[in-house]
């Protein structure tokens, strides 16, 4: 009896609750938006931010060197070791940062004229061909391209072979930091070209005409009109080239020499030896650097150009 009565009750009351809910959502659109956003945002928070949080927390743990197990006690030992005198970690971090900065500068210098030509001078057909050429390398595996560079730069490789044919002495490029910079510049170039192209394409033709009407010559127009307007694009591109270089460890491993260890290599070495807390602590360094860099980039308007 009681069960039957209950069953009779639930039908209409369920409908009533549903109506009440839809009324509430209609009156408060913000609630509706929240309901729609929670699943993707939640996933993002758990997977992305959560993982970083775990990384951060574990960077304060230490490892028992004999048993290779993680000790869950809080300490600043890992960070102390990174910043200690006579330890190699600051040297490694500085080297990584310097290479990332050089690669970014070289890529910007290479990409700007190319992007300018594509955006403003090239015919539609040429532009399409150039786009394909810029993007095509991205279709081949990064690893394959690095191995290709290994054979190009090698002592008996393409470069030295060509130099020999024209009677010039060998270049000892293989396994040096110069080789590393060359390869980095090559692999990240498309990521610089595209944002600069987008920024340049957005400059209205009338601005350039106005500049000419006011008597500015070509160089002056580039300096006073085009460059300031393209700057957000350059900074946006630099976010890619800078952070991609900062986090890389394959190129130093395969192209670098004896003084090429990156933050990523050190992190990797400590992870394979099961010392994850120290690896986590050292991984915080590039994250902090990129964090600061992003703040600066935002001030320069890079996020509007992405």
């Amino acid at each position: 009896m009681a069960i039957d009565a209950g069953a009779l009750e639930t039908g209409p009351s369920l409908r009533r609750a549903r109506l009440r809910l839809s009324g509430l959502l209609w009156r408060r659109p913000s609630l509706k938006a929240l309901g729609l956003l929670v699943p993707p945002l939640g996933a993002f928070l758990i997977v992305y931010v959560g993982a970083l949080g775990v990384l951060f927390v574990s960077s304060f743990w230490t490892i028992d060197s004999f048993t290779a197990t993680v000790k869950h006690t809080w300490s600043l030992d890992n960070y102390r070791l990174i910043f200690a005198q006579g330890e190699p970690y600051l040297r490694i971090a500085t080297r990584t940062l310097a290479v990332a900065a050089v690669v970014t500068a070289v890529d910007a210098l290479l990409a700007f004229p190319l992007a300018f030509f594509m955006a403003r001078l090239a015919s539609r057909r040429t532009r399409a061909i150039l786009f394909v050429m810029v993007l095509l390398p991205l279709w081949a595996s990064y690893l394959v391209r690095i191995y290709a560079w290994q054979t190009i730069l090698a002592h008996d490789g393409v470069i030295n072979w060509t130099l020999g044919k024209v009677g010039l002495p060998d270049l000892n490029l293989a396994y040096t930091n110069t080789a590393m910079v060359i390869v980095f510049c090559y692999v990240w170039l498309p990521f610089m070209v595209l944002p600069i192209y987008a920024a340049l394409e957005r400059i209205p033709e009338s601005y350039l005409e106005a500049s000419a009407d006011l008597g500015a010559r070509g160089l002056k127009t580039v300096r006073s009109v085009i460059l300031p307007l393209a700057l957000p694009g350059i900074v946006a591109g630099s976010i890619f080239t800078f952070s991609l270089t900062l986090g890389d460890y394959i190129t130093p491993l395969l192209i670098g020499g004896t003084n090429s260890q990156f933050i990523g290599n050190t992190v990797y070495n400590f992870i394979v030896e099961a010392n994850t807390p120290f690896a986590a602590a050292f991984a915080m360094i590039p994250m902090a650097i990129v964090g600061v860099y992003l703040l600066i980039a935002r001030r320069l308007g890079a996020f509007e150009a992405l």
Partner: protein
């Protein structure tokens, strides 16, 4: 550590086949298990439990020789591959240690085995149950890295010396010893492995060149001795073209003419010679080397299958098969004719036909731990200190 590069020569087919076999096992064969008891007191190995769970270097239970074992004993192998010695140790030590009641065997290298013994993760075995053991090279019957106080914590399986490779066209006259990679004659044309255990090579060299340091064992260094080895390696750094990470990297560097001489393993020499490169190797004695042991987990759920595997994998024919698949040397010299049958001249190429005095001059990898064996004090530098020193050198 050293294993990663060696994968490349084992075909993808093997990987696919192993995966397929595992999938088959997962769907079909779940049984096994059951009371093992103390296998160290077993007088005869009982019936197999149907399953064998191993932590291994990739391809250490390669299908080419593991399949007949599975068919014969009914012990189906479940593999967990490890990339480094520390990873192996961590796997054995988790879930309460001793293999967590999940794993039966681990193919530990000398730089992990002592830690496993000291942590109680492996148990002594009855070595008389392994018929081939009596035929082993004497150095591998009761080596210090797997036998403590007369108790065997597993059975040796394969080993390899660290060798000095050189390009016969560029290096003239041929090198005679390890001093070549610490001298400036071939500056900028040298390479050594990117591995903390390389410190032992420097220590071994210092043992002969600087006896005043008092190094007794290249794996047991006091702080001052470790510093001396570190200094030697720092000065070596400017002579090097690069540190190699994977065996294939070293092969490429020799092939491209970037490197003329370097420390490596017989595997690289054989690969380069197979490619018609003018490469030869010498084994300057004394030298360092590595040796692997199949060790029995303290909580092995399938001890009978584990014993059956240890019996099987040390048989001459199987030893030969594994040696050729992986590029290493058997501990059982009776494997020699079988090796030559698979690959002509491979027994000599892998140094399995040397006189006894040869093997005693190879100092095999063992874990650097704080407790020094030679003066029973605890002021030796542990592996963690070695790793940090290595980062200081290469960073």
């Amino acid at each position: 550590m050293r294993r990663i590069g060696k994968r490349s020569h084992v075909s993808v087919v093997v990987v696919v086949a192993v995966t397929a076999a595992l999938a088959f096992v997962a769907s079909g064969c779940g049984g096994g298990g059951g009371g093992g008891g103390g296998p160290s007191t077993t007088t005869a190995i009982g019936k197999g439990e149907g399953s064998l769970n191993v932590i291994e270097w990739p391809y250490y239970t390669d299908k080419s020789f593991a399949k007949p074992f599975e068919q014969k004993t009914g012990c189906i192998i479940h593999r967990k591959d490890a990339g480094t010695s520390n990873q192996m140790f961590a796997l054995m030590h988790q879930n309460g240690g001793g293999g967590g009641g999940q794993y039966d065997l681990v193919s530990a290298s000398g730089d992990a085995s002592l830690r496993l013994i000291d942590a109680g993760d492996v148990q002594p075995i009855d070595i008389n149950q392994i018929p081939s053991w009596k035929d082993f090279l004497p150095q591998f019957k009761s080596p210090a890295h797997n036998t403590v106080d007369g108790k065997h914590y597993g059975v040796s399986v394969q080993w390899g010396p660290n060798t000095l490779l050189y390009n016969t066209k560029q290096v003239n006259p041929a090198p005679t010893g390890w001093s070549e990679i610490y001298g400036s004659k071939y500056k900028g044309k040298l390479t050594v492995p990117n591995n903390p255990i390389q410190i032992a090579d420097a220590a071994l060299y210092l043992m002969q060149t600087k006896p005043s340091l008092g190094i007794k064992d290249p794996y047991e260094l006091t702080k001052a001795q470790l510093n001396a080895a570190t200094q030697l390696l720092v000065s070596q750094k400017s002579l090097l073209k690069r540190y190699w990470n994977y065996a294939t990297d070293e092969i490429t560097s020799f092939k491209n003419g970037d490197v003329w001489m370097g420390a490596g393993w017989p595997y690289q020499t054989l690969q380069l010679q197979a490619d018609k490169q003018p490469i030869k190797e010498i084994v300057p004695l004394p030298t360092t080397g590595w040796a692997d042991t199949w060790m029995l987990a303290a909580k092995a759920p399938h001890p009978n299958c584990a014993y059956k595997w240890m019996q099987y994998v040390t048989m001459p024919k199987v030893e030969a098969q594994q040696a050729i698949v992986f590029g290493e040397t058997p501990v059982n010299p009776l494997a020699c004719p079988y090796m030559d049958k698979i690959q002509k001249g491979s027994c000599a190429a892998y140094h399995l036909n040397e006189p006894a005095s040869y093997y005693s001059k190879i100092k095999f990898w063992k874990t650097p731990i704080a407790k020094c064996g030679w003066n029973s004090s605890s002021d030796c530098m542990d592996y963690n200190a070695w790793q940090q020193a290595w980062t200081k050198i290469t960073g």
